[in-house]
Symmetry: C2
Subunit: 171 residues, 2 copies
């Protein structure tokens, strides 16, 4: 089964992201707006229950809640035509990302972590120029608090279903 | 904000339900296949954190994990044209539903609880006859285990985002 780990921002930020995603992101219907903390990885149910979930609980307990800001749009161009709300980096989110990629957990970290909320992807080059041209002019002033992350699994239709919540800073 | 409480069945059952939902359920993109345990209710974030989540934790701790079977399709016709996978009733799921509708939690229980996984809704009368005519011939033999329920909130686009997981039988 495919698993992944994400942070879902508050309703306010999700609603803002969805106002763009509904037009520009073909994954709009597969998962709510999110910050990917760990890309899809393969695991079986036994491994998830006996090894991965206990480790994620430990990581969550050791991690204090933190905040982030969203002020502008950025893109992964020319690598991909993905456009995203840039999550203003904080030490905490990088530390959490590091912990989620320790050797005790499956899954590789293929590239440097850029915390972001995708709002457009799989655009043609022409669409990308148009859309990024207008979105990159926007200014945002969103502040959000993170006090949890979620373990999800992927259904056959590509959609993601939340399996478990991990509260930061313990219960 | 609108909140609701649902049980998400295993991937196996969700995939089966989605094979029908993608054709017949306009809510396909808004939430993965689920058993509604408490209909949408209004609450503010403070009430959720200080009153409702502690109560849900208590309920989850007091409730043992249970199993259910899915053997056939049924419908709410003539009240609505909703078609669903019938969740073979067990005492446990009714007890959990009762606890989730105690006076300590907001939200009313408007009608008798019929545990189900919706696979078709908002069909015209003619579509309903056709679709229910063929689906009601199907036989299923699905067994599933429930060891958690989830608190969700609703986004402006109507989609549901999971806020927190509650494991049955405590940690």
């Amino acid at each position: 089964m495919n698993y992944g780990i994400a942070i879902f921002p508050s309703k306010k930020v999700q609603d803002e992201a969805n106002s763009y995603r509904k037009r520009y992101d073909p994954h709009y219907a597969l998962i709510p707006p999110h910050i990917t903390m760990k890309e899809a990885f393969e695991a079986d149910e036994n491994e998830i229950e006996t090894k991965i979930i206990p480790e994620l609980r430990k990581i969550a307990n050791e991690t204090a809640p933190f905040s982030f800001g969203v002020y502008k749009v950025s893109s992964f161009s020319p690598v991909t035509n993905t456009i995203y709300l840039k999550v203003e980096p904080s030490d905490e989110i990088f530390e959490l990302n590091d912990k989620l990629h320790s050797e005790t957990l499956p899954g590789e970290k293929d590239f440097a972590f850029v915390p972001h909320i995708t709002i457009a992807q799989k655009l043609s080059d022409e669409e990308f120029s148009d859309v990024f041209g207008s979105l990159s002019m926007l200014k945002f002033d969103l502040q959000d608090d993170v006090d949890r992350f979620q373990l999800l699994y992927q259904l056959e239709n590509g959609a993601w279903s939340v399996y478990e919540t991990f509260r930061l800073g313990g219960e």
